[in-house]
């Protein structure tokens, strides 16, 4: 046997593994889009290391919710919205869709804010770069030539690794870092709760669950192959959150210790100074631009697709606009509105990027309740219903998020 022949079965097994792996890793790396970086930079610069414990619990939460979604996808072969419509009826599906559109509108606006912020880092006004980017995204995706750009953009998102390198160069007090990772600190102030909710919202999104379930169902993963998928979910969540933790550690070590509270992209970029020196701004700007463009080109399309699927409207970019008016209308509307939000004069970009994630977090409990009921329904899940531990953890999480939301609302109103 030649070397090539001997390697073939190994390569094939690896390919099988890789073809099942993927969605988890991808959803997790999506944590580091514009809103993700903004959220973690903000958290790290305002609360220092004392925010790290939250990342640990958010990771657990992400694993639990995503695993539930992936399992439902593997067992039923259906998307989350399909299941919601078939089990809870069209009104519920409509409300969930409305919520998804709102949350994703916010997140898309955050991406355009990211584009605007990176443009301003290079001295380009947002009134030029945002309309330009919106049109480019709209046009490229509809023309189907988006795949060519995708890889380049994915590569740019690797800039998040720069945070890890930068952290090691700063040499933070690792003992303190470790203690703060394990021992929770809670500040009872609205801003802290907001930061907490934004972190939850950028990591465990209803949208992430819907995407995870759709890809698992789409790939035709069966329960025999499911252990791979579960591994992928756990691995992806851990990887994504390790990077998130490093963004927090890095900003804490560089900015928090010097009393800099991140309110602009310029300040956020300073966290990369130990690695890139005077080029920190450029590194941060290009990375942020890539990540934002990538998310901005996918989110509106995927949202529109899911909505049209749930309501049985004609969809897909191989249909003509007059065949699928809802599809093209909603898609264009999402891009135009979210770009327009960013163009409101005087709107602070950086807070917009992380505040948009609070919407996601507020919606999450509602979706989680439905997911829990679906995942415990024997007629849908057969013998793969939730374990008690999963149920307990998910319920506690939903309750905590709800409490945090109520406290925030209370505080805002009175």
């Amino acid at each position: 046997m030649t070397w090539k022949q001997r390697m073939k079965p190994v390569a094939q097994r690896l390919l099988l593994f890789l073809s099942i792996m993927g969605p988890g890793l991808i959803t997790a790396s999506a944590d580091n889009d514009a809103s993700g970086v903004a959220t973690y930079s903000m958290a790290g610069s305002f609360y220092g290391y004392s925010f790290l414990w939250a990342i640990v619990w958010v990771t657990f939460g992400e694993v639990v919710t995503q695993e539930m979604a992936a399992r439902m996808g593997a067992v039923t072969g259906k998307g989350l919205t399909d299941l919601i419509r078939e089990r809870f009826g069209v009104r519920m599906a409509f409300l969930v869709m409305l919520g998804l559109i709102l949350a994703n509108l916010g997140t898309t606006a955050a991406q355009f804010a990211g584009i605007a912020a990176s443009g301003e880092l290079f001295g380009v006004t947002r009134y030029l770069i945002v309309p330009l980017a919106a049109f480019a995204v709209w046009f490229l995706v509809l023309r189907g030539s988006y795949q060519h750009v995708e890889k380049a953009l994915l590569f740019l998102t690797l800039y998040a690794v720069a945070y890890i390198l930068s952290t090691f160069l700063v040499r933070p007090p690792w003992g303190l870092v470790l203690r703060n990772t394990i021992v929770p600190t809670i500040h009872f102030e609205p801003r802290f709760l907001l930061a907490l909710l934004a972190t939850v919202g950028t990591t465990m999104t209803p949208w992430g669950c819907a995407y995870m379930q759709a890809t698992v169902a789409d790939k035709g993963v069966t329960m025999n192959e499911y252990p791979f998928t579960r591994l992928d979910v756990i691995f992806g969540a851990v990887m994504g959150n390790v990077v998130s933790a490093f963004i927090i550690i890095c900003t804490a070590a560089t900015l928090f210790t010097h009393g800099i509270r991140v309110e602009t992209a310029e300040q956020a970029a300073l966290a990369l100074a130990p690695l890139a020196g005077v080029w920190a701004k450029q590194l941060f700007g290009i990375g942020l631009l890539g990540a934002s463009l990538l998310a901005a080109s996918v989110l509106p399309l995927a949202t529109t697709y899911a909505v049209c699927e749930a309501f049985g409207w004609e969809r897909g970019i191989n249909t003509k606009p007059d065949e699928a008016p809802m599809f093209y209308g909603l898609y264009t509307f999402m891009i135009m509105l979210s770009a327009a939000i960013v163009l409101i004069p005087g709107l602070p970009l950086f807070p917009l990027m992380w505040l948009s994630q609070v919407v996601n977090a507020v919606l999450l409990p509602a979706v989680m309740v439905m997911m829990l009921r679906l995942a415990n329904d024997g007629s849908i899940m057969k013998s793969w219903c939730n374990s008690r531990l999963t149920n307990a953890f998910a319920t506690i999480l939903a309750v905590l998020i709800t409490i945090a939301t109520v406290v925030l609302l209370w505080d805002a109103l009175f």
Binding site: K78, R85, E86, V90, R91, V298, L299, G312
Partner: protein, 418 residues
């Protein structure tokens, strides 16, 4: 008189004395295989377990649900009923006329005359039905009026839909009869769009030939996974029914042990042909050629050739008989003649006189792009593949040659990121 299911569900049910018995939870119909299934009963919910009331006791369904008895009898289920709210509403259903998968937004119940029986008439899949369900019809009708447009009312007659339910094999068989009459390419679209358990259940009901025809139209990534869901013996039977080139493509995507197992289960004759094809690289002429083609020996007249074809098993197998290839005893390619020329020529003329001797041909390792170029340049419907000794190996049909050149259509999957 048309009533919509959405207008009945949840409405109070009154008896002949005007007493409220509960709320309507579901409507049961039977005779799904007919175009107009009759309403058999309604399910009444009053706190506890639903109670079934037979259709005979119903005086009106709309505008209010009124019974003609004070204390109606209980309906005994016979097992052939379809629960409309639970099993049809909001589910996916195949529109056999429009050949697509649709989602049921509402159901139309019809009553031919006052006092007559109610029957299920149609399935509402339009936006209008959706708005009605959401209770948004009234507020939005103003908007639609303003836009000078009507919300799309798309109602498909019940006789032209096939309900899908993985857990109801009998009903699935009724649907199968309607669906399997559709074009394999349309069936393939529906199978691709359905969720996996459902598509499996539906495919299982088809006969091997329908599965094989459908498989040939399905996206390559899905072919292997569908084959995996069939019992191995059945999968081997399906592969035998498929064209050897298509079967080889599917097998090439499988794990080697799986592939060997299926080849073993296939009949020897089919298996050897497929194995031959598997030896060539995927994107070469050999990889995309089929071994189903028709040859005639040298030295025949047109009349003899046609007679030969009538009795040739090769010709029976060949699904698209465009060209007849003339080969010598060693199966070396000598010429080609279109079936049309052969049929139109006088029977006494020797084939050798009218055949094309200078055949456009390719080697088995020729690239697919080159094959496609030749096919396009010479306007061929198929091109023969020969080895270095001019021995005929197979043919590449025009559709297979162009398959990979044409820009791939938008795959119906979510974008990769997120």
């Amino acid at each position: 008189m048309t009533t919509y299911l959405s207008q009945i569900l949840g409405k109070p049910v009154w008896n002949a004395k005007g007493q409220r018995l509960g709320r309507c939870a579901d409507v049961l119909v039977a005779g799904v295989e007919t175009g107009f299934p009759l309403v058999r009963a309604i399910a009444l919910r009053n706190g506890q377990e639903p109670r079934l009331i037979p259709a005979e006791s119903i005086a009106w369904l709309s505008p209010s649900i009124i019974l003609n008895a004070v204390d109606p009898p209980v309906y005994e289920q016979r097992g052939d009923e379809l629960w409309l709210a639970r099993q049809i509403l909001d589910r996916q259903i195949v529109d056999t006329e429009g050949r697509r998968l649709v989602r049921v937004n509402d159901l139309q119940l019809e009553r031919t005359c006052p006092g007559g029986p109610y029957c299920l008439a149609g399935v509402d899949v339009g936006t209008g039905g959706l708005l009605r369900r959401l209770g948004l019809q009234a507020p939005l009708s103003l908007l639609f009026k303003f836009l000078h447009r009507e919300p799309a009312e798309v109602v498909i007659p019940w006789s032209e839909v096939a309900p899908l339910q993985a857990d109801a094999p009998i009903r699935l068989r009724i649907s199968r009869d309607k669906i399997s009459e559709m074009h394999p390419a349309d069936i393939a679209d529906i199978i691709e769009e359905l969720d996996r358990p459902m598509s499996q259940a539906l495919l299982q009901t088809f006969d091997n030939e329908t599965i094989a025809d459908t498989m040939e139209e399905i996206e390559p990534e899905l072919q292997a996974s569908i084959l995996g869901t069939l019992p191995p013996e059945r999968a081997a039977d399906v592969l035998e029914e498929m064209g050897p080139d298509e079967a080889a493509d599917v097998l090439a995507d499988l794990h080697p042990t799986e592939r060997a197992k299926l080849l073993d289960l296939m009949e020897d004759e089919d298996a050897t042909e497929v194995e031959k094809l598997l030896a060539y690289p995927e994107n070469s002429a050999g990889g995309i050629m089929t071994t189903e083609y028709v040859t005639i020996p040298m030295g025949l007249t047109v009349g003899q050739a046609l007679d030969y074809l009538r009795h040739s098993p090769e010709a029976q197998e060949d699904e698209a008989l465009y060209y007849v290839y003339v080969v010598d005893e060693e199966r070396k390619l000598q010429g080609v003649i279109g079936l049309r020329e052969l049929v139109l020529a006088p029977p006494e003329v020797p084939v050798a006189d009218i055949m094309e001797k200078d055949v456009i041909q390719v080697g088995p390792l020729e690239t697919q792009d080159e094959v496609a170029r030749l096919v396009a340049k010479y306007n061929l419907l198929a091109i023969p593949v020969v080895d270095e000794n001019n021995v005929m190996l197979g043919i590449v049909t025009a559709d297979d040659a162009l398959d990979h050149i044409l820009p791939t259509a938008w795959k119906k999957r979510l974008p990769r990121f997120f």
